[in-house]
């Protein structure tokens, strides 16, 4: 098959058509500026999906992070909600009573500069501004009990830090006992005894025994007060409480 002749060159084609095709201008090449603009648009076409992908990735990461935070917040909120719905005897905020300071300083000499923290002799255990709290909590296993240097009702010096939660519960319980001491020594004694069973290796054993001895004294149970006070004096030897316990025992001996 031979190549066709173009119509403009074909004599058999009407002259007006040949003329029309001969005058026709061919397709024009792509202008440089149009090519440049088109290339720039293509570049944007490639960049935008990448940016959109990055944005989507960042959004998904942020969403995942929020989900994790939400789960963590929910995990923490559930116990709080449970307490709110069915208020259990929960520990109050940490009571910064002198107990803790004294306990911490239990190993120091009585001449320590920290004696300023010690309550006056006339007031066996100083009252604090700690608000009154409901009944003390039920016993919880003392978290640091097995690490205590001197386990037992007497308590003593502690090498390991005591969990704040447990210490706060002890302080709250003793604060209750101390508050009840003047108007209801029996209740104060009961609370002190409950503290002894709840926190057999508690950090505030000396303070508890001090309240218990005072309660027994006020109840007129001097013999018990003397016996318990003697045991307390053995525990309090060398501590800031030693002088106070001795003075207390003197009052018990000669009511």
């Amino acid at each position: 098959m031979s190549a066709p002749v173009r119509l403009r060159d074909d004599e058999s084609v009407p002259s007006d058509r040949r003329e029309l095709l001969r005058k026709a201008s061919g397709s024009r090449l792509l202008p440089k500026d149009v090519r440049a603009r088109s290339a720039a648009r293509i570049h944007r076409l490639l960049v935008l999906p990448a940016a959109a992908g990055l944005l989507l990735w960042m959004k998904s990461v942020a969403a995942a992070g929020l989900c994790v935070l939400g789960v963590v917040a929910a995990v923490h909120a559930v116990p709080a909600l449970t307490h709110w719905v069915a208020p259990a005897p929960s520990p109050p905020p940490v009571a910064p009573t002198p107990f803790r300071h004294r306990s911490a300083l239990a190993g120091e000499s009585s001449d320590s500069a920290r004696t300023a923290d010690v309550a006056p002799e006339s007031a066996p255990i100083p009252a604090t501004d700690t608000p009154k709290v409901p009944a003390p909590p039920e016993p919880a296993p003392p978290l640091g009990a097995k690490n205590r240097a001197t386990p037992g009702p007497g308590g003593g010096a502690h090498a390991d830090p005591v969990p704040v939660d447990s210490l706060a519960r002890e302080a709250a319980m003793l604060e209750q006992a101390r508050a009840a001491l003047d108007r209801n020594p029996s209740a104060a004694l009961a609370i002190a005894n409950r503290h002894a069973t709840t926190f057999p290796a508690g950090s505030l054993g000396i303070e508890r025994e001090l309240v218990a001895v005072q309660a027994l004294q006020r109840l007129g149970r001097y013999a018990e007060a003397g016996t318990r006070g003697s045991g307390l004096l053995e525990q309090a030897r060398g501590s800031i409480y030693e002088k106070r316990v001795k003075a207390l025992l003197e009052t018990i001996a000669s009511p």
Partner: protein, 195 residues
Amino acid sequence: MPIRVEVSRPDQLADRLDVSSVHDAHAEFVWLSLQRLGVRDADAEDLLQEVFVVVHRRLRSFDGSSRITTWLFGICLRVVAAHRRRAHRRHEESVAQLPEGVSLEARSPEQIASAREDEAHLRAILDLMDLEKRAIFVMFEIDELSCEAIADMLSIPLGTVYSRLHAARKDFDRAVVRLRAIEASELASRRRGRS
């Protein structure tokens, strides 16, 4: 003057198939194809972009079994067909323009007016043709591409180019006749309106 278009082989495209490289290599071909399919200068740049948006979306579907120019020409056909349907819906009138490449300096106002008239007349005929036949016709009769180049570009046998060109010429003849009939009808309508 014949326009040469470089045609890449499928095996050459295998490892550089991204829209940027396709644009670099074939923007010229797409631009020429759009014109051969009757796209006006005012719309050509927009449609060029539209074609490459499609290329960007569909490039993964190109398996290299044909020339990429064949694939691109198919995209051009569909984009231009859609454009014509949109233009038809908007009742746009084609504005005959003297092509940018035509020099006006050596022409008198009469010659310029005559050239515009001829261009508009030819465009009106071509606009009545089937899109694909029009493209083949313009490639061979106006852009003076050889049948071999067309066959290579569209990945079709040479004999197919001949047969398609034959069909395109017949379509051209029919379009000429139809245009004359339309012009005669409009002329008669104007005369009736005046009378």
